[in-house]
């Protein structure tokens, strides 16, 4: 029978059905980070439970580490040291691979894993982090879990999961110039809501997805969770194979050929059926920018924010979001003055993202008084950017150039943007106070954030290049 990519991945990892709507699914790779991994490892120790197969468990320090050059375990976030030390000790005690603070491979988990070749087509991979769906871009079964489930995966190398339904989103046509993967996923969420993918594993396909580089595909899958999908995934192709070739954890020699041959069997069969299909014509997509406090409150950059009105709950949600964001109904979103610009996060801090932003910034300066920060997704991305001279482009433009980490994608009690400041951000969540006290976050692509940093107001990047 014709099968989807997702069905093949599920079947590949199905240990057995439990007879109660749950399946026991085998887990190939587990990632932990210091924010939620620390608690999982501490809890295992307290319960005297052991990691079944430590070779397949990897730990990153990314969530609360500082991104200053002279950083140490003593973080700007009060008590951050406890999380770092607990993770390090737990990892050492259990014999796990740790990409520690001063490791040249250190970085954000969903940047490090692909970079090292740890995620591969056909693997199942989990992490107590909602953006684990990023790694579905490789044709992997990758999804975010809680700490208790992480403990379960560590001890049993399995998870008890209800199989989600399948959805395919076809991005057909060609992306217009100045429009990026970030705009594609925000456009989808605008059309179908932040709950639109609820209960589904979502395969992204179509000509525009095939055209994306692996990093763009990761951006697309990264925000599948903002669509409330179980995960996002993309079939492996020659770009996937090229990306993984020669990476530290990629197979080599005869095993490489064997793996590549297996990966070739994974794409969705021609006649396979999905529970739901969505078709998007990419020619219709303009640069997107969020105006509210949910990723679904997003619009084309040339438009006006919606008028409040109607009854509960839709009208009230609009009014509440507009009040929080200090916007008036009917305002043009372009031209709104901003205080800060942030380029970073597991969504948009890979080398291709930094190149896009640098192309906008080259030879320009950020608006005086505006705070602009670039945080590369990993130390390897940072090194690559420096080898290409991109760091100088950012620095000359007036950006702070940082070491890697999740940084101000969220406010953990340490470094943050100022009270009620308006931030253009390449991150994935515009929730209330996400980046600081009462901060007003607008999500957008790296090019849009860079263009806005230069003008000091929300700006369509197509007007800059």
């Amino acid at each position: 029978m014709a099968q989807t990519l997702f069905d093949k991945l599920w079947q590949e990892h199905l240990v057995e059905e439990q007879g109660d709507s749950t399946d026991l699914i085998y887990i190939d790779r587990i990632f932990l980070h210091e924010r939620t991994g620390s608690i999982a490892l501490s809890s295992l120790q307290a319960d005297e439970r052991h990691v079944f197969y430590p070779d397949h468990v990897f730990c990153c320090m990314d969530h609360i580490v500082d991104t200053y050059p002279d950083r140490s375990d003593d973080t700007t976030m009060p008590s951050g040291r406890d999380f770092i030390v607990a993770t390090r000790q737990g990892a050492q005690q259990a014999g796990l691979t740790l990409f520690d603070l001063n490791d040249p491979r250190q970085g954000i988990v969903h940047v490090v894993s692909p970079e090292q070749g740890i995620v591969q087509p056909g693997v199942s991979l989990v992490c107590p982090d909602s953006h684990t769906c990023t790694q579905g871009a490789f044709g992997a079964l990758a999804w975010g879990i809680g700490s208790s489930e992480a403990e379960h995966a560590l001890v049993t190398k399995t998870l008890r999961v209800k199989k989600p339904k399948t959805m395919r989103v076809m991005f057909e046509g060609k992306l217009p110039a100045g429009v990026a993967a970030k705009d594609m996923i925000l456009f989808l969420i605008a059309k179908h809501g932040a709950g639109g993918g609820s209960g589904y594993a979502v395969e992204f396909a179509g000509a525009a997805v095939a055209d994306l580089c692996m990093e763009g595909r990761m951006t697309l899958c990264n925000m599948a969770v903002e669509f409330s999908a179980f995960t996002g995934l993309i079939a492996p192709d020659c770009k996937t194979v090229d990306y993984l070739h020669g990476r530290p954890y990629s197979p080599a020699g005869a095993l490489w050929d064997e793996a590549v041959s297996y990966w070739g069997q994974l794409p969705t069969d021609k006649d396979a059926l999905f529970d739901r299909e969505i078709l998007i014509d990419c020619g219709d997509i303009a640069p997107q920018v969020t105006w509210g406090t949910s990723p679904e409150q997003v619009m084309a950059i040339g438009g006006r924010v919606p008028a409040a009105g109607g009854g509960e709950p839709a009208g009230a949600a609009i009014s509440r979001a507009l009040a929080y964001m200090d916007l008036q109904p009917g305002d043009y979103i372009a031209g709104q003055p901003i205080d800060c610009a942030f380029i970073g996060s597991c969504t948009n801090a890979r080398i291709s993202d930094l190149r896009l932003a640098a192309n906008v910034l080259r030879g320009k300066k950020v608006k005086p008084g505006l705070r602009a920060i670039c945080v590369p997704g990993s130390m390897q991305v940072k090194a690559q950017a420096e080898a290409e001279g991109l760091d100088q482009v950012f620095i000359d433009a007036g950006f702070e150039w940082r070491a890697s980490g999740c940084s101000m994608c969220f406010f953990a009690g340490g470094e943050h943007f100022g009270f009620e400041q308006r931030v253009m951000s390449t991150t994935n969540r515009n929730f209330e106070s996400r980046q600081g006290p009462q901060t007003r976050t607008h999500l957008a692509s790296p090019a849009t954030v860079a263009a806005s940093a230069v003008t000091g107001v929300i700006t369509d990047p197509r007007e800059m290049v």
Partner: protein
């Protein structure tokens, strides 16, 4: 884990869509490597006047005297979306919440609930709205009864049936520990692991 059969309690309406886990427990309130000490940070951004402060915001539903002892939350679609932080569930549990009623839930949040003995109860938007109006008339008196084995929520003057996955129901009703349960299948898991090492050797450093 605490078994879940029946629960009767005060319900607090928080009818808005997309209540995310950052709102349930802001990252800045997750101060220790612990599952405890989180109840105070529950809904901190709405519950207190200032970020990091403890001066209560009188308008927030849980701060109103008639909602004292709230153990059920009524909310809008996609409750618990966003971050995977299980701290959101630990905070709700520590505060005393046992049930969240919403038209849909963030998938990771719903799983985290089941693992901690909380019931994520799915009901349609119109029914929740109806119940919320009734509750608000006299919150301490108009309490809600939830019977999990019967899959019924009783409020106003009737009982609403609700669906729940058989697996989730079993975990809650029997108060099962998922790891213990899975370890009863150890032979099957080890056999699968052995076979996979043979069939996909490149995943095992081979």
């Amino acid at each position: 884990m605490k078994k879940f059969f029946q629960h009767t309690g005060v319900a607090a309406p928080m009818i808005r869509a997309n209540v995310d886990t950052d709102a349930i427990i802001p990252s800045r309130e997750m101060k220790r490597v612990s599952k405890l000490g989180l109840g105070e940070g529950l809904f901190a951004g709405w519950r207190y006047r200032e970020i990091g402060g403890r001066d209560v915001a009188p308008d927030f539903v849980l701060n109103q005297v008639q909602y004292t002892g709230t153990s059920i939350i009524l909310s809008g679609p996609n409750f618990g979306c966003g971050s995977s932080r299980e701290h959101a569930v630990w905070a709700l549990a520590e505060y005393g919440v046992r049930v969240v009623v919403a038209p849909s839930f963030g998938a990771i949040f719903a799983n985290n609930c089941i693992r901690n003995g909380l019931l994520p109860l799915v009901l349609d938007e119109a029914s929740i709205e109806e119940i919320a109006i009734w509750v608000a008339q006299d919150p301490s008196h108009n309490q809600i009864l939830i019977d999990l084995p019967k899959q019924a929520l009783c409020a106003v003057d009737k009982c609403y049936g609700f669906a729940i996955d058989a697996g989730a129901k079993r975990m809650l009703v029997e108060g099962l520990d998922a790891i213990d349960l899975t370890q009863t299948r150890w032979d099957v898991i080890e056999e699968f692991h052995r076979q996979r090492q043979a069939s996909r050797p490149w995943l095992y450093g081979g």
